[in-house]
Amino acid sequence: MLCQGPLNVFGRLILGRVSSRTLSDSLNRSIMPTDKPCEMSLGNNMKHLRIRHLPLCLCSLMAMAQPMISHSADMLTLGSAGEKGYRSSLDPVEIHFGQAMPADLAPYLRLEINAIDVTDFVQRSDQGLLYVPQEPLAPGFQELRLVAMLPDGTIEEAAIWTIEVRASKTFRVAETQGQIDLQVTHRVADDIDNSPSRRTQGQGGGTFFSQHADGDWSTTSRANLVYNSQSSQNHSGKELELTDYQIKGEWQRATLTMGHQNISPNSLVLNGFNRRGLSAGYTSEQHNFQTTAFSTRTEQITGFNHFTGINQSNHRTSGAMVSVNPFTSNPDQLTLSGIYLQGKGQSEGVAEISDATDKTGGDAQALIADSYLFNRLWRMRGEYASTSFDFDGKGTGLSSETDDAYTLLLDYDSSRANNNPGGDSGNWGLSLQHQHAGPWFYSLGNTAVTADRETTQLQGKYWNSTFSIIGLVSTGEDNVDDDDSLPTTAIDSASINLMYTPPMASVDSGSEPPAEWVFSNPSYSLNWSHYRLEQIDTPTGFTGDDVDSRYHEVLLSAAFSGNGWYWNLSQSFIDQDDRVLDANDQETLRTSLDSQFTINEYLSISPILQRTETDYVNQDMEIRSWLAGASIDLNYPSDWSYSLSHTVNREEASDDSIDSRAALTQATVQWRYREAAQNRFGITFFSNGSYQTTEDQGSDADDYQLFLGINVSLPISM
């Protein structure tokens, strides 16, 4: 039973069972019995509470302008918001003792706000408790919990209230935050090709966030902007770039979102589709019906142009999703979803290299049934999807091509059980998946699906707190339409991933932990994978190359860490055996050492050493690459910081076709003249420089640049 009304204080329940007879009697007299269950909306943090409660509850309702009018006033009541009509983030919290409150209980009361015990700052009197917030309470609904810790060690929960903290009378939440950073840099010396003509450049960024809420509505908005006077470094080619933004409004169970969307229903036709556009969603009261309609830019974009993302019909993808849970008592038992989308445009956007064929487009639809059964241990999921796509452009050449795909999943995972003990006893899982995608299955909403492939995959896993193993076998074929003019290739793969982290030695709180040394806190892993391709059916007259190849990869790694340091060593071996085209045979060995050592609170060092060697075994040629370097960071005194890094990258081939070496040294000195604070500029002066030497097939070059600059930052909060 959630007691609420047009109020700003929702006192939900007073519960208790005390071991002291006096207290028990007093409490019981003040508690009104009810036959309805008490709602314990304590959140996830409270799920392990083992405090005992009586099957009784009582609501303590506090009207906005009517302090302490409650039928629970006999014992404990929460003070009202005061004259201004609402409770702000720094308003004192008053708890008043009623007549039924046992006097000997008061000293044992402790106050928690959102699981933080604030009792040290609670002022006690005969009339009650007073807490003046030591840090502003966040706007919104906050949980107050009053607990009695009795001398015999018994812990009793005396009361829980949900209070509403408001930013103002108009808005429960009204917040605007942001930060602007701008760097002005002057190049004082250089000797480098293609340096920009302007010696003084500007760079920076701005982030803005605001939220407003009241009643059953809320709005949030955020935006990121980047400034770079070298506009070629921005994707939009403009000096000031709007990289992403989102404006979202929620009213009851409906949402409207403009800007960058996150539409990811994990479907064959729509997944990870984070584009700029508009969407609207609705969720039913029981959360058993959800629907979202969207219209977005097909391609990934940035900048102020195409602000809404939907202004060009040839670059627009629109659609809708509907999801229904027929069994409201157990929604996970079955979820039925339908998706439809229609799009025009390209699959290539900003920072992408893909198919840039113009004016392509088509539509796609999917039906999904997803079911968790038997205490969520088993999951069954099936999806059928079809697409119709015009690959050579709408209205030109050939017409749209229709194709379909489906996926079936049967999955068992012991960790999903509600009563799963986990920990050292371990968990295990097994999953079997079959997927088929026709050769012309293609959706602009999910371009990652591989067409013309039928795959069956079995995965098993076991893990506990120190050890995990995941094994996977997969078999599949292409040419799924059995076109007799094309060859068919079988694809088989297997992999095993092992990870072992020895348990940390149990250390009593009073004793010293074991001394750290270079191999402290180890973690080991082994990954092995095998991949095999074999042409199993060759059509008559086929003029291409046969396929028969095998690939193996083994990765071993060990990591060690301690207080302020870590290092890890890994080695991988890749064997590529092409039994048709010998020239493709390769053996690659890669060794890597990464580390960081924090010497003290001022100084840290991060060395790195990597080496790869690729042997083209039938071409009598090897390519070797080296990377070695280190960076040093020093912060001393507190307003000064220094960093120095040096890396050397070497690549050479045994036949001298590659012979290059590049060394880069970079240094920075920063002096913080004034610390930034809320609505106050922070100023930092800096100097940085870089020096690079390159040698490539006998041609050498030395380049350097030296800069002086000022960094201004302004955190904004309103």
Partner: protein, 381 residues
Amino acid sequence: MGKLLTPDLCRFIILCLLLSLPLTAGASLSSGTASNLSGARNIAYTTQTTATIRWSMLRVTGGRAPGVTVTSSSGTFTDAGNTIVLGTVNKALSKSKPISPSEPFNFSETILIPRDVLFKAYKQNIRTLYYRRNFTDCPAADCSQITIATSFTLTGSAAGVFNVSDYRLRFRDAPLTPIIEQDQTLQAEARIQVTGTGTIRGVWEVASPGSTAGTPLYQTLQLVVRQLSSGQETPILSPALPARQSGNHLVRFRFLAPELREEPPVLQYVVRAVPAIPTITLIAPRDGSAANQETKFQWDAVRNANGYKIELFDRNPQENSYPAKPVAGMLVRSDANHTSLPGSLMERLESGRRYWWHVQALDDGGNIIAASDWNSVTISK
């Protein structure tokens, strides 16, 4: 007779013939060849693919001619009979050099064979498609032209020659151009789809503000060697990107093999300065030790602190990109730089479970004026 025609003698005769050609046949482009450097002719018929072609030809002329320019304005995908044009590559190739009958004109180009070309070929029952280029040395005197072609055979999606078909550069759990705080963890992610199966070599590189305000100089962060196969989009994660120095950084994954058909995309991220908060040193309990109701949580006192807030989380907040709420916590008066957890808070913690805790110092206004690093404890009741 056969033994007299040794290979060297044959080469000499051919060279003499080539040298004598201009005297008899005039200037011309000849001996054109196209080599597919991608290693195989197979291309998956459903996925756009990349191929690297080397064009080679000789230009022979009479007399002592100066340099000449050989150009090709575009390439076309056709059937074997050159009667059906499936697509066009509008990319010009041009090279100028002195004429030598023994040193050919060589051009390399990496092309995309787009999905629409493959679709049209398949639908018109073309199983071997040709990529052709016309090369000309016009407007040189006695100019000529030559057409050279290379062929590709359509095959299933798994058997295509190994190449990058789709490449997307992103940041993990961050927008396209993120603005992060100093020392915040950020990783880039190269999402790669390939045709065929093979080994990719590349390097993660970053240009820091020490060069982006001028000419970006890229520092190598990591050498990458990975086996990739068609059938999945494989993410290759960068190491944690440098985030100490405030300003604009550039990051890219540069392919060494196989080659991309264009310059690799570059992403930008901005590191912004954050107010430096002094560090509180945690004294007890030691990191990783056990804790119970009697355990004293202790830290170094902070000058001007009005109070301390100790918070415990059930997940490591440093490893979670989303803000988490504390499972339990406590406000402590500034005259005490230690506390033990009361039973009411211990009830919120599971025995045998690991928790991460830290301490913040608050001033009179509730502002955080100092904070500790994170330590962990395992609760024992």
